[in-house]
């Protein structure tokens, strides 16, 4: 259920934060466009050989081209390496903004850039660590493959006997790579919520988290993998059938290609947002519960201040005025005093002074004078009035407490329990 909800919620979140996809696509497109234009405009050939290439592939023509434009190819190669690195850096930079937009559930440009900048160094460190881990895994695979193959050469006589261990190793490598991929993504969320600088620790916590909740996390991963696979297969089928024979078909191929790239980038955002949804599934529930609790408290406080209090105050005035005059006077004075204080609080615009006044009111309610008043009220049967005053004070206390609680909702400061799911 959680997986399905995360999948759908991820989709909605990716749509709601579509500027993330636009931004990544734009970066991807512009960088590639520079190389594409560099290529197409750097060639000025009057040779008929290359015009053959438009209609069909020619190994000879391609080879001659590569040979005759060696310098251009070298420049393009350098550009390609540079731009790939640049795109990686950009994607690292955007991560803070993207995750933040998931939390806010909407894309806000200024907040995007603020959070991108804020988290860049942390995510950069994370990317470095992940890169090192991936490189180590690859070295391990090569080593294991060479060991297995050299061992098989000595023992096995049937080619099939080679295929299974080699495929198994490669499969294992892919599984481990997918683990790293998933761990890296969840570590991003951890870093965002905890705002920790300890990136390695975040990766480690993410690792524990992933393995603790392996079933649902990996099932979601696999279900998400369907998207790029479907995209790649459909693109392959289309590209095999479609050959550029004129400028129109060339334009069509270009547009289809760009559509595919856009879909790939959107799929990546969807991937991330769906995982984010799973990650925050229980956490969001807690937030929702808190919200409901606070709302109930708000309503209760409202009720107290408007109906109950007014009603009881009028009863006192009408029915028991004489009997309790002395005490009432005292109590009324107290009430006036409190009322005055409340008005003062109400008038006060400066939050810090307001805070101080509230604090003073609460302090006075806890002073010795109140204890004496309580005794007198008991003697003169004025507990009801007193309790009214006490309710008023409680109301203020509650209001203060509610405000404090609400503050924490702005962005939850997450501790260790973030990494726990309520199974």
């Amino acid at each position: 259920m959680k997986i399905k909800e995360s999948y759908i919620r991820g989709w909605k979140l990716a749509i709601r934060t579509i500027p993330n996809t636009y931004l990544l696509y734009l970066a991807n497109f512009l960088l590639a466009l520079i190389i594409g234009i560099t290529f197409a405009t750097s060639i000025s050939s009057n040779s008929l050989l290359y015009s053959k290439l438009f209609n069909k592939f020619s190994y000879t023509a391609i080879f001659e081209f590569l040979r005759n434009y060696e310098t251009l190819i070298d420049v393009l190669k350098s550009q390609f390496i540079l731009f790939t690195g640049l795109y990686l850096l950009l994607s690292i930079f955007f991560t803070g903004g993207i995750v933040d937009s998931f939390f806010k559930e909407k894309f806000n440009q200024s907040e995007f850039w603020i959070n991108s900048r804020k988290f860049f160094l942390r995510y950069f460190k994370q990317a470095l660590y992940i890169l090192i881990i991936k490189a180590l895994l690859l070295i391990l695979l090569i080593f294991a493959l060479s060991m297995v193959v050299s061992d098989l050469v000595e023992k096995e006589s049937i080619e099939n006997a080679y295929i299974f261990p080699i495929i198994s190793l490669v499969f294992l490598y892919l599984i481990l790579s997918s683990f790293i991929y998933v761990i890296s993504d969840y570590a991003k969320f951890g870093i965002y919520f905890t705002e920790t600088d300890k990136v390695l620790s975040a990766i480690w916590r993410s690792t524990k988290y992933v393995f603790k909740n392996f079933g649902k996390i990996y099932l979601l991963f696999l279900s998400l993998m369907v998207i790029p696979i479907v995209l790649i297969i459909s693109n392959l089928v289309i590209s095999i059938k479609l050959e550029a024979i004129n400028y129109f078909t060339l334009l069509l191929i270009f547009l289809l290609g760009q559509l595919f790239i856009f879909a790939r980038i959107f799929a990546r955002i969807w991937f991330l947002s769906a995982q984010y949804s799973l990650f925050t599934y229980d956490f969001n529930k807690k937030i929702e519960n808190k919200r409901a609790e606070f709302q109930a408290l708000d309503e209760k406080a409202e009720q107290l201040s408007k109906s109950q209090f007014e009603q009881e105050k009028s009863e006192i005035r009408q029915n028991k005025e004489e009997k309790a005059q002395t005490v009432i006077q005292g109590v009324n004075e107290m009430l006036k005093n409190i009322q005055y204080q409340l008005e003062e609080i109400e008038k006060e615009a400066r939050p810090e002074i307001k805070e101080q006044l509230i604090e003073k009111l609460i302090q006075s309610s806890e002073s010795e004078e109140w204890e004496i008043l309580e005794e007198k009220a008991e003697e003169s049967n004025k507990q009801r009035e007193l309790s009214k005053v006490m309710s008023l004070i409680d109301e203020i206390k509650l209001e203060k407490a509610t405000k404090n609680e609400k503050k924490t909702l702005q962005k939850p400061k997450i501790t260790d329990d973030l990494w726990e799911f309520d199974d």
């Binding site: 190389i35 050989l49 015009s51 000879t60 095999i240 060339l250 790239i261």
Partner: protein
């Protein structure tokens, strides 16, 4: 019949009776055809046993050798090829820059040698290394005799030898229970005239085993009896003549091969056998279980090669051919040729669009002609073997599978075999690194393959482009008929080429074709023509032109130092086209036309001159199209975007 050493294996179960009949009928056919096709100078009777545990051979060899010279000989040179694998200091290993561990090493030792007259020569064995004076190389021995041999007489050597097979990495050896036994027995060198021009002085031609040299030997009859465990299936040069079951769970197989220059064999308990016929020739395919799906790929390619060679070169003279498909761990022995036996190589799941099995089959079969029947000296003139054979390989591959996709036609990528030969050559960092015709061990830094295979094939493609396929076929047919079962030299090939071309074209190509081969075979000249400029000028009536109009000019440059007759295709703006021919000698040639504006020109429009190192400067147009570049810009962009996205964080 052939190679069916064990009849009980699965694919053949139902056909035992058929096989026996086949074996019987083949024997009859073989005995009927025993008239000598060659001079049968070196004839071997070898009795060898394979110890599959120790990977050793123990053999007794009786060599009957004919002295065809006018010399009385007291000195004989023998190849001991297996000693190339003895240590990293051998010439073979040094040239390959390869290390050899003690376990991987292989060697051969003559334990006794005596003449038929009883003279014991064992103590007269002396290692020599005439090619490079490498004192650690033991691949050639000189054996001196007091009695010797008179001219035009025959001598018999009785040789006892033991050998340890190397761990298979190059051509010969073992891996697990797979054995490929090639260049394995003491083999006498060729006693021949010292040089082509002067046949008065004869000498031994017996080179050390080099990294890039394999064969040069006299023809003869080989009777080889192989004893090995009875669960092994054997493939060998020649025909299986007899099979005997021994008491100790071994069997002895008797193979016979007539008029061949070498004998190789292979054994493994894992082979499966598929048999087929092409006309009267028996085909045996010893394959791996996991390659069953690829039987037809090999057989179809082999039959195409048979058809092509018989139609365009000459008749296949042997009664059988055995094709060996090595296991994956034995691919070091793949892609090799021996008389009546070739090795190919494939892997499971190889897509049909990647035609490596077909290419290997066709190439190695071609060696039955170029090396096997036309027994050239691969040590000294490797191009006559590998070069001509590569030329035929490309012809057959391109004709069967298509010029632009004969090698690869997979996932949108198409590569023609003929294209790869030219591209391999023009991709050389130094195109003048060595002439094609060089001793195999003298080619500098890894240029052997490119020059001997690729450039030589490209050279012959160019010759074909100049004189036409029909004339080229006539050249090769004549060369084959005149020199089959002999040792032709480069000069013989050139002589025949010149004769045939002159017969067809008179002096159109000169008195002879020496000018062509001097540039392409003996020299390092480079061929490159370019269209320098096209000029269309509006002119007024004058000396050059009767009325106002247009004079158009094309300037052609010869950038390389090679000259070849050439053609120029000119297309005018009115759509008309003409072809101009010129001898290609001048450094600059200008063609002038009146009354028409030139749209484009193309040197060698059909790309006949494959040796031309740059096709792109062969043409020029005044109305260039940039559509191709935009197409590839789109492709580059698209793939770049995909790769970038692969690296996204």
């Amino acid at each position: 019949m052939i190679v069916i050493a064990k009849y009980s294996f699965k694919p053949m179960k139902a056909n035992i009776f058929l096989l026996i009949i086949l074996l019987f009928t083949t024997k009859i056919a073989f005995s009927q055809a025993t008239q000598a096709l060659s001079n049968r100078i070196a004839n071997y009777d070898i009795d060898v046993s394979l110890n599959t545990e120790n990977k050793t051979l123990r053999g007794k060899e009786i060599l009957t050798w004919k002295n065809t010279s006018r010399d009385t000989l007291n000195e004989f040179h023998f190849h001991l090829y297996l000693n190339a694998f003895k240590s990293k200091h051998s010439t073979f290993m040094k040239e390959f820059e390869n290390e050899v561990t003690k376990e991987e090493a292989g060697y051969i030792k003559i334990t006794g040698i005596q003449l038929g007259n009883g003279e014991n020569l064992t103590k007269n064995i002396e290692f020599i290394a005439l090619d490079d004076n490498n004192k650690y190389d033991e691949t050639v021995v000189r054996i001196k005799s007091k009695t010797g041999i008179l001219p035009d007489s025959t001598i018999q050597f009785e040789i006892d030898f033991t050998a340890k097979l190397p761990k298979l990495s190059f051509r010969t050896g073992y891996v697990q229970d797979y054995f490929f036994v090639a260049q394995w027995f003491p083999k006498i060198g060729v006693y021949e005239p010292q040089n082509y021009q002067d046949s008065s002085k004869w000498t031994w031609n017996c080179h050390q085993f080099h990294a890039h040299s394999e064969f040069y030997a006299d023809f003869g009859v080989y009777n080889v009896k192989i004893t090995l465990p009875d669960n092994y299936i054997v493939g060998a040069s020649g025909l299986l003549w007899d099979e005997k079951q021994n008491a100790n769970q071994t069997k002895t197989l008797h193979f016979k091969a007539n008029d061949v220059i070498d004998f190789a064999w292979t054994a493994s308990p894992n082979y499966l056998v598929y048999t087929e016929k092409w006309k009267d020739t028996n085909i045996s395919f010893l394959y791996q279980k996991e390659h069953k799906q690829q039987i037809n790929r090999h057989i179809d390619a082999l039959k195409s090669a048979f058809e092509y060679f018989e139609t365009n070169v000459g008749e296949y003279p042997y009664p059988s051919i055995t094709v060996i498909d090595p296991p994956i761990y034995g691919l070091g022995a793949g892609g090799m040729e021996y008389p009546m036996l070739i090795t190919v190589g494939t892997v499971k799941f190889l897509p049909t669009g990647i035609k490596m099995p077909e290419l290997t089959t066709i190439h190695e079969f071609g060696h039955q002609y170029f090396m096997g029947i036309l027994a050239t000296n691969e040590f000294e003139e490797a191009w006559l073997d590998e070069g001509i054979n590569s030329y035929y390989e490309t012809r057959i591959m391109d004709e069967i599978y298509g010029y632009s996709n004969s090698l690869i036609d997979f996932a949108g990528l198409t590569i023609g075999d003929g294209e790869t030969q030219r591209i391999d050559y023009i991709n050389l960092a130094n195109l003048r690194i060595s002439p094609i015709n060089n001793y195999a061990w003298n080619f500098p830094s890894y240029s052997y393959g490119t020059l001997v295979y690729s450039k030589a094939a490209t050279m012959l493609q160019t010759l074909e482009g100049l004189v036409g396929k029909e004339v080229m076929d006539r050249v090769m047919q004549t060369y084959f008929e005149e020199w089959k079962f002999k040792h032709p030299k480069t000069e013989d090939f050139i002589k025949i080429t010149s004769q045939i071309i002159k017969k067809k074209y008179g002096n159109d190509f000169g008195e002879n074709m020496d000018w062509f081969f001097e540039q392409t075979l003996y020299g390092t000249a480079v061929c490159d023509y370019s269209v320098e400029s096209i000029l269309n000028s509006e002119v007024e009536k004058g000396e050059d032109i009767e009325s106002d109009g247009v004079i158009s000019k094309v300037r052609i440059h010869r950038l390389g130092d090679m000259y070849l007759p050439n053609e120029l295709l000119i297309e005018f703006t009115d759509g008309s086209k003409i072809i101009e021919k010129w001898d290609g000698k001048a450094a600059t040639t200008v063609f002038t036309f009146k009354g028409k504006k030139i749209k484009s020109v193309q040197i060698d429009p059909e790309n006949k001159i494959k040796l031309n190192i740059n096709f792109s400067n062969n043409s020029k147009t005044l109305k260039p199209k940039t559509s191709s570049f935009w197409k590839y810009a789109e492709k580059i962009m698209y793939w770049l975007q995909n790769i970038m996205q692969l690296f996204v964080f």
